[in-house]
């Protein structure tokens, strides 16, 4: 078991309403989420000696802009360009084990929906129009479509098999009052919906949302000072693929295999140990890749495996029980982390899975970085 196992626990979670929060800055939304998380943790903000801000998609929401609203001067404070929740959580763990902070609050805030952020820009590092953009290759749906088309051609994956991701997550979302999309979505409904970027449908892609999320983490020997049962971090790994879209084949995201190898080898755990799986899902295709590269399904067999119903309510590997970003809200994965904690606490209401002990969360920054975290109800 890795050295960090059991050293840090999540002891507070908080969130704001999702959807449209017109007139609210990401920083204000962050502070509202932090208030909720501190209340959940049962502590005053004076207890907090560390802040890790995850910048918004547009680059706002940094710690120095949140600070004046939050009214504290913790000894440790950082901002991450793309905290997602694994990167922010991993940084907090590093701060705690290196004794730079004892109790940190992590936050994310976004006004990307009311701020009319568009996914329709070209992809690449330059704001200039590239060959890809001039050819009409734009929006994350296009990148997912390229990836999925390749998967379909190589392995024979069908629309119906792939549709189990969106349909299954919608079934979970229907039991989640926070989820933005709760209308029924049967497989027949899914298959009858038009393609957006073939073979990707609207239902396979997230919708940008405003909102905020915060998480309180602390040193394991302090958990008795908090109101809730702790959720321990038992493993973490990261892997970059910084050469990004300059690397031919980058959309296959093979770096996920290296990340999987790290987290399984450092924890001694494997796919069959995981009770609940959370995968950051700007598109459903990202879910299929993680399932295969982490060994939950053999590479290429993700389609037939999904069709067996493992991931849906009642299945043996529930995935994105909050509805994920496809049905709940696009919070860069932060609400996946919140949901993992809710489930491990046994507080997930109607969608509560029976006595889960180990949850895993995988997040990726497109094709350039990824992080994986394993959480548990107890020290392993």
């Amino acid at each position: 078991m890795t050295r960090v196992s059991g050293e840090v626990a999540i002891v507070g979670i908080g969130w704001t309403p999702q959807g449209e929060l017109p007139g609210q800055s990401p920083e204000l939304t962050s502070v509202n989420a932090i208030k909720a998380a501190l209340k959940d943790a049962g502590i005053d903000r004076k207890t907090v000696d560390g802040l890790v801000a995850c910048k918004s998609v547009q680059g706002t929401n940094s710690d120095v802009d949140i600070g004046p609203l939050l009214g504290i001067n913790p000894r440790y404070s950082q901002s991450l360009d793309y905290g997602s929740c694994s990167f922010s959580l991993h940084l907090a763990v590093q701060a705690i084990v290196s004794e730079m902070a004892d109790t940190l609050v992590l936050c994310f805030g976004s006004d990307s929906r009311s701020g009319k952020l568009s996914f329709a820009t070209g992809y690449g590092h330059s704001p200039a129009v590239t060959l890809a953009h001039a050819s009409g290759l734009m929006h994350v749906a296009g990148m997912a479509a390229l990836g999925l088309q390749r998967h379909k051609s190589k392995y024979g994956t069908t629309d119906e098999q792939f549709g189990h991701i969106a349909v299954g997550q919608r079934e979970w979302a229907q039991m989640n009052p926070l989820a933005l999309f709760r209308d029924p979505l049967t497989m027949d409904d899914y298959l009858s919906r038009p393609y957006m970027v073939e073979p990707i449908r609207r239902e396979d892609v997230t919708m940008i949302s405003d909102g905020g999320v915060a998480v309180v983490v602390t040193r394991a020997d302090r958990v008795g000072e908090f109101r809730n049962e702790p959720v321990y971090l038992v493993g973490m790994a990261e892997q970059s693929a910084l050469t990004g879209d300059y690397e031919p084949g980058y959309l296959d995201r093979l770096f996920l295999q290296a990340m999987a190898e790290q987290i399984w080898s450092t924890t001694g755990l494997g796919p069959t140990d995981i009770d609940l799986l959370y995968i950051q899902d700007p598109t459903a295709f990202w879910v299929l890749q993680v399932l295969e590269y982490f060994g939950f399904a053999p590479v290429g067999d993700g389609g037939p495996w999904l069709a067996e119903g493992h991931t849906r309510p009642g299945g043996d590997l529930p995935i994105n029980t909050n509805g994920g970003q496809l049905s709940e809200s696009y919070m860069w994965g932060w609400l996946h982390l919140v949901e993992a904690v809710q489930q491990l606490r046994g507080n997930a209401g109607q969608r509560q899975v029976v006595a889960p002990e180990i949850a895993m969360y995988c997040s990726t920054q497109g094709w350039q970085k990824g992080g994986a975290t394993i959480l548990s109800t107890h020290k392993l």
Binding site: A128, L131, G136, M138, G142, Q149, R150, E198, G249
Partner: protein, 140 residues
């Protein structure tokens, strides 16, 4: 991005990518070659990521390749593409292993991953020419 209906057009005078657009105007597909280690790269970079040397030149590369993958846009995410849907964007792997994004134009029957394609050049606005790809009919 402007709100008009014009397509996004590359800056053909860009200091890094300018030679690519100039070659395309003359119906030639080129890539950047490191003078030191000879590795090819596309799009342009100011330094060779294989050997970290900066000297480079643009050389002609093969306009023959296969479809690495493709996507069919049924929705226009930019008003300039409204009249084009459904349009196809592929990533083409050429003979040298370079990957070029580009539209598949012409007859789409037989379009699939691995299908053979060859480059064509189409002027999309004054002085701006894009490489695009046409399916190469299989022999027999």
């Amino acid at each position: 991005m402007s709100s008009d209906n014009a397509k996004p057009v590359p800056d053909v005078g860009d200091p890094y990518m300018g030679p690519f657009w100039e070659a395309a105007r003359h119906h030639e597909l080129v890539a950047q070659a490191c003078v030191s280690c000879n590795s090819l790269r596309f799009p342009a970079l100011p330094i060779c990521p294989k050997c970290l040397e900066t000297d480079s030149k643009w050389i002609p590369v093969s306009g023959e390749g296969t479809v690495w993958s493709f996507a069919i846009y049924h929705r226009a995410f930019h008003p300039g593409f409204t009249n084009d849907v459904p349009y196809v964007v592929a990533i083409v792997e050429n003979t040298e292993g370079l990957h070029f994004p580009g539209n598949i134009v012409g007859d789409r029957s037989g379009l699939n991953v691995g299908a053979k394609v060859h480059v064509v050049f189409e002027e999309i606005s004054a002085g701006v020419t894009l490489p695009r790809w046409v399916l190469t009919p299989s022999k027999g």
